[in-house]
């Protein structure tokens, strides 16, 4: 089970691609609306680099709650 949840606020994401490029584990990709989306969440190491590089405050990384 994935240890982390990566939430993307699509209303604020402008598809700049910084998070997609910065993620060391290639967790994120653009979806068909050119918004960032976690596609390999099991690989996420919770480093918060995507969150901190996002100029639009559109990404939140949280620890996954067991059974949630």
């Amino acid at each position: 089970m994935a240890k982390f949840v990566v939430d993307v606020n699509e209303k604020w994401c402008k598809g700049c691609g910084l998070c997609v490029a910065i993620c060391p584990k290639k967790v994120l990709e653009f979806n068909e609306r050119v918004k960032s989306e976690p596609v390999r969440i099991d690989d996420c190491i919770g480093c918060h680099q995507c969150e901190n590089i996002c100029p639009d405050f559109a990404i939140t990384v949280k620890e996954a709650k067991p059974n949630a």
């Binding site: 939430d7 606020n9 209303k11 604020w12 402008k14 598809g15 700049c16 691609g17 910084l18 490029a21 910065i22 918060h48 969150e51 901190n52 590089i53 996002c54 100029p55 639009d56 405050f57 559109a58 990404i59 939140t60």
Partner: protein, 274 residues
């Protein structure tokens, strides 16, 4: 939209913000807010002032006591606020044009006055808002709308300028190092005296497009590849440092702070006029 505590500092009704997709200014705002949350600051006791420019739109998005003033003059407004109510935490956010071109005079004098204000300079090497004119920090040879054959003027080093003018805290980070920005802003805000944090950032729209860094990530990679910490830089030759961005804390000293001196003076010479 990181932690709820950071979100609480945003005027979310104005989001998504006006900056271009990937603009570095948002990375800096994000780091500034994390620093304020970390320091336990209160919105009603925190003032964010700015002048004019893309960078200077930042206070509009921050839910604190904010002040969007005239181009280059924000430090004068910030100084008035701080003198009138020294209990407030006052942070002045500026662009490179705002701070070192039209506002250059205000900037150097605020440094030597050493009033307890934090200045955050978002240096994207260009006038972003008005269409990409060269600023006093555009590198020699770089292209701008006002320099179609490349800039000839030697740029200011904002940190050296601030150190030379007498600021008590001076540091530089880049937007490729968001945690470093956060740390230096924390230290700067905690400093009693005039503190300057230069954040090297990008305007891919106006600068990058003309200088082989058109995408936001090209700029982040450029900053990562060309930044050198100051302790390492001190062992490098001038030649090796060509084109490098030296990051780190350059000044962190205790100097007499203006408001304290002002209060002392009033106590000494004011008072009884009978």
């Amino acid at each position: 939209m990181p932690s709820q505590e950071v979100l609480n500092w945003l005027r979310t009704r104005f989001f998504p913000h006006i900056w271009c997709p990937g603009c570095g200014h948002g990375i800096i705002m994000h780091a500034l807010l994390r620093a304020l949350v970390d320091l336990g600051k209160k919105k009603e006791e925190t003032v964010i002032a700015s002048g004019i420019g893309c960078s200077s739109r930042m206070p509009g998005y921050i839910d604190a006591c904010t002040l969007h003033t005239t181009h280059g003059r924000s430090l004068a407004f910030a100084t008035g606020v701080k003198l009138a109510n020294p209990e407030l935490t006052v942070i002045d956010v500026m662009g490179d044009g705002d701070c070192t071109a039209i506002g250059g005079n205000h900037f150097i004098h605020a440094c030597r006055r050493n009033i307890d204000i934090t200045a955050i300079v978002m240096n994207n090497n260009i006038y972003g808002m008005t269409g990409g004119q060269a600023s006093p920090t555009t590198p020699v040879g770089a292209y701008a709308t006002t320099a179609p054959y490349g800039v000839l003027d030697v740029p200011f080093d904002i940190c050296k300028l601030a150190a030379g003018a007498g600021a008590s805290y001076v540091a530089r980070a880049t937007v490729a190092h968001p945690l470093l920005i956060e740390k230096y802003v924390r230290n700067a805000v905690s400093k009693k005296g005039f503190a300057v944090v230069e954040v090297v950032t990008h305007c891919h729209t106006q600068f990058g497009r003309k200088n082989k860094r058109p995408r936001p990530i090209d700029n982040i990679n450029f900053f990562k590849d060309n930044s050198v910490m100051n302790n390492k830089a001190s062992n490098m030759t001038l030649e090796e440092l060509q084109g490098k961005i030296v990051i780190g804390e350059f000044v962190n000293i205790e100097l007499p702070e203006y408001i304290e001196q002002y209060k002392n003076l009033i106590e000494e010479v004011g008072g009884n006029r009978g």
